[in-house]
Amino acid sequence: MTAENLRKYGVFIAALAVACFLPYIGISKFMLNVIIYAGIFSIATMSLNIIMGYTGQVSLAQGAFYGIGAYGLAILTNKAGLNFWMAMLLACLITAFVGLLIGLLAFRTKGPYFIIVTLCFNFIVYVVIKNWDWLSGGVRGQKITGPELFAGREARYYLVLGFVLLTLFIMWRISRSLEGLGFMAVRDNEPLADALGINITYTKIVAFMISCFLAGLAGCLGALHTGYLSPTSAHYLLSFNFIIYLLVGGAGTLYGPIVGTFTVYLALEFMKGIGEYRFMIFGIILILVVIYFPRGIVGGLKSLWKKVAGSRQAEEGA
């Protein structure tokens, strides 16, 4: 049992220990910067995991919600002059509320129809932000000033780390709570869940609102860290990125979103040296990963572990 626990938590504790001291083990400022972004994006990917991995609804609107969170924060601090933390909380709540409205419309549809509805929504949000100069600052974007405390990169790193852990905690709790059971039921067999007394639309909307809230949170952190906001923060290509991160890491797994985001984002950042051809190489790697690890890195490792453990058990049994 202890060996089992060690496997379960050992990796996590080791990773957490490294994470706690990361800024002081001599990594470059640039590296730290990249890691902060990866952390922020992994929150967004986790948010996608809740709606897509656990509830089975592939949303291509996470980019839009990331953007709504970020713009919400910017507008509330710059235009309404709200206190930063108040604005951040409010921005996330607004994002969740928009999620509710969109969910009410979009969850009338299913499967590929839902995917396309969310994609359209993202497209609309992007175009509106780009053109609605008065509110969003249009293409020129706007500046965001965070609290003095988080002016330094290290401080922002710990802030993001804290929120990554919080999001991870939420995801972990959901995955093993009664609410999470409902999510899984909806993902795996809607008609049966319905017949078993689970309110499908309500469940989906709850999952979607949590997901949107967290995507909005990621957007706020992204805006804070960049210190500046432009319509690309709501682009649908962001949604595509999150899906790529999630599938490379492993949808429906606890650590998949983080592993996927860090792997892909860091790899692309380091491949910048290659210049032009990096997307070609990345594209090929992406295809190979999806073909050979259809359930993502974490999913693949899990089944590998099962095989190893299985054969070990068989040996012991013999």
Partner: protein, 253 residues
């Protein structure tokens, strides 16, 4: 009266799948529903449990009008069901299947999962109930197995267990022994009797006549969406119209 159906009708385009049916189910009784293929039996179930909305007619469950209600509401009122093509959460373990089926009797929401105070208790309760239900349907030994990998008979039993774990007052079983080996049928019959012993009413669709005759307190016979006979097994099996439409002259009770 537990369930009361009044002149229930369902049309699909030109086809009348269920045609003005009146029917009652008494608490704690077993009602068999038989009829040729395409007679409208499954459609009738789908209307009762809310999967389909009736074209006309009325359904009352414990005095509550549930005509046109959503399936999950009807399930929460206390009507469980199984499907003709056994439907399970194929990728999940049995105990999780059971827990999901019990979910509708719990209150915990998202915030409870973050601060698990009430949730703790409910989770324990769910686990206990799930264990009991698995025990009841004879699957306690394979709580950890994946539902999709079970043999047919175990799938059927699991489905019945899931219909029961939410403490319904009525369960609808659509061909609970379809595809089940001859050797395993008696076990299923026993299980259905035990359900009745718990005071839960059962509606069962079956083509295995001997089984239906043995089990049911009352039998309803459908043909072309209409009720052509209704009564005790003896009454029904003697009915010439039933023999002609469904049983065939070769049948002897």
């Amino acid at each position: 009266m537990l369930l009361k159906i009044e002149s229930l009708t369902k049309r699909f385009g030109g086809l009348v799948a269920v045609d003005g049916i009146d029917m009652k189910v008494e608490a704690g009784s077993i009602v068999g529903i038989v009829g040729p293929n395409g007679a409208g039996k499954t459609t009738l179930f789908n209307l009762m449990s809310g999967q389909l909305k009736p074209t006309s007619g009325r359904i009352t469950f414990e005095g509550v009008d549930i005509t046109g209600s959503k399936p999950f509401r009807i399930a929460r009122l206390g009507m469980g069901r199984t499907f003709q093509n056994t439907s399970l959460f194929d990728r999940l373990p049995l105990k999780i299947n059971m827990a999901i089926a019990r979910r509708m009797r719990t209150q915990s929401g998202f915030f409870d999962s973050l601060v698990p105070l009430r949730e703790r208790e409910e989770e324990a309760d769910v686990a206990r109930r799930a264990g009991e239900a698995l025990e009841f349907v004879g699957l306690a030994g394979s709580a950890e197995s994946i539902a999709g990998s079970l043999p047919q008979i175990a799938k059927k039993r699991l489905a019945v267990g899931m219909a029961l774990v939410g403490e319904p007052k009525l369960v609808l079983l659509d061909e609970p022994t379809g595809g089940v080996g001859a050797g395993d049928i008696s076990g299923m019959i026993e299980l259905i009797c035990q359900i009745k012993d718990r005071g839960v009413a059962v509606c069962v669709i079956e083509h295995k006549m001997r089984m239906v005759m043995g089990l049911s307190d009352r039998i309803v016979v459908l043909n072309f969406g209409r009720k052509i006979a209704c009564g005790t097994p003896e009454e029904v099996s003697g009915d010439p119209e039933v023999i002609k439409a469904y049983l065939g002259s070769g049948y002897s009770a």
